[in-house]
């Protein structure tokens, strides 16, 4: 597995996934920096088709962001045109905002791909007035973020241990999301209920395209 992780302080919470991956799976971690985009793109390009590419970072409907300079903000790592070449016949998980829309624009390119809708994990992800008001107490976002990372890790580890296919991994993730929604729906803490709604939105926008029988991980540790 190859994990592509942009250097960006706003996604520090994803480090827990990387730490777990290092312990449990044979993987290569690429820390993406704006000044070395070429290295990252070359790595994706030269990666073997059997390897799963896991992108952990920010995204938008037309592409993926790389690292972030404080002064200049997020920098685009790649858009559809490059994606079509680099992701050709590859197994890809894009754990980034609106990657489901991004994947949908060239879905036939991938061997298999998993994408997500809006993943509201930071204040900056609350773009609409409605969301800004609804989640103004950022505790709900924090609860959502922590739960999401934990369940992502659990399914990640399980899929690796059980030698799951992409479909099994996707179902495992959905099952954990559903359990989380069930738990939060019974909570008396309004922030947990709001976190449950964010989890619900996330689930509704998740997609799996391509060969769902492809293996989640090619080489186990």
């Amino acid at each position: 597995m190859i994990i592509i992780n942009p250097s960006d302080p706003s996604i520090k919470f994803l480090n827990k996934i990387i730490e777990t991956a290092k312990r449990t799976i044979s993987c290569e971690i690429d820390k993406v920096m704006p000044e070395k985009y070429k290295t990252t793109l070359d790595l994706i390009n030269s990666s073997h088709k059997s390897k799963t590419l896991l992108f952990l970072g920010h995204g938008f409907s037309e592409g993926l962001y790389g690292g972030c300079y404080v002064a200049e903000g997020k920098q685009v790592l790649l858009r559809k045109d490059k994606g079509e070449v680099l992701f050709k016949d590859k197994k890809v998980i894009l754990f980034s905002c609106r990657s489901s829309e991004f994947i949908a624009t060239f879905s036939e390119t991938f061997e298999v791909a998993i994408g997500f809708g809006d993943i509201k994990t930071t204040k900056e992800d609350l773009t609409s007035k409605h969301d800004k008001k609804k989640y103004r107490d950022l505790n709900s976002i924090r609860i959502f973020r922590e739960s999401l990372v934990n369940l992502f890790i659990s399914s990640f580890v399980e899929s690796n241990e059980m030698n799951y296919t992409f479909l099994e991994y996707y179902n495992s993730l959905k099952l954990r999301i559903n359990k989380c929604i069930c738990k939060f729906s019974l909570s008396e803490d309004p922030n947990e209920r709001l976190a449950g709604e964010l989890m619900f939105e996330l689930k509704k926008e998740m997609i799996l395209v391509g060969n769902s029988n492809a293996l989640f991980n090619d080489s186990q540790k």
């Binding site: 659990s154 959905k174 099952l175 954990r176 559903n178 359990k179 929604i181 069930c182 939060f184 729906s185 209920r193 449950g196 709604e197 989890m199 619900f200």
Partner: protein
């Protein structure tokens, strides 16, 4: 517990008592509900051959059925074939109930009659008319069960056939869900699915009965969460 609605113009108390006791004895309890289709408020008067005749007003029938059974869902509806009426018979009634989506598109119907062979001949005759016509056969078959009963049975001891039918044909999940929601019609939905928040369970049951893309979405979510709830996961 299964529920069967019986529509007839003669009292069916004895048959319902047998249905309930026999099904209970078999460990497959069924409750019977009787609806008299020739109650005075469901009739209208017409002059036929110079004489006043009382006829069944099907619009009133459907209206009364909908009101009377708003909080009930059934696993089966059984109708008599012959009524004391010059126009309406069991087949026409079933067609009418189905067209009006009474209790949903998946609701199974039985028809019972002393002349059940005659009813079967009538239905088979309709099929025969289309069998050699390539242009209309498929369309006819596709829409056949939209207006016809699922089975035709003999009237004598028809309660046994109802038990057999319900044992053999499992109640669709959507009907079970509809039925369960109607047990608490005034309670409000307050789980995580914002689109349906604060709807009463009766409103949700009615939505499921209409069978739309929206209800499909609700039913899928309901199933997903139920399955998730039943599964224990290690941390």
């Amino acid at each position: 517990m299964k529920h069967c609605l019986i529509i007839d113009d003669q009292d069916q108390k004895d048959q319902i008592a047998l249905l309930e006791s026999e099904s209970l004895r078999l460990g497959f309890p069924i409750t019977g509900h009787f609806f008299n289709i020739t109650e005075p408020d469901l009739l209208y008067r017409e002059i036929m051959d110079g004489k006043p005749v009382d006829l069944i007003d099907v619009d009133k029938v459907i209206e009364k059925l909908k009101i009377k059974y708003i909080n009930n869902q059934f696993d089966l509806i059984a109708c008599d074939y012959q009524y004391d009426d010059k126009i309406i018979d069991g087949l026409k009634l079933i067609q009418f109930l189905k067209e009006n989506n009474f209790k949903g598109k998946k609701m199974p119907y039985l028809i019972y009659s002393n002349d059940h062979e005659e009813v079967k001949d009538k239905l088979q005759g309709e099929v025969r008319q289309h069998i050699d016509d390539k242009n209309t056969l498929m369309t006819f078959l596709e829409s056949y069960f939209d207006s016809k009963p699922d089975a035709v049975i003999e009237r004598t001891s028809y309660y046994n056939s109802i038990i057999e039918f319900l044992k053999k044909n499992k109640t669709p999940l959507s009907i079970k869900l509809d039925s369960k929601l109607r047990e608490y019609p005034e309670k409000k939905f307050n789980n995580i699915f914002p689109r349906f928040k604060d709807k009463t369970l009766l409103e949700l049951a009615n939505m499921i009965q209409k069978s739309s893309a929206e209800s499909d979405d609700f039913e899928s979510e309901f199933l997903e969460r139920s399955v998730a709830h039943f599964i224990f996961l290690e941390k």
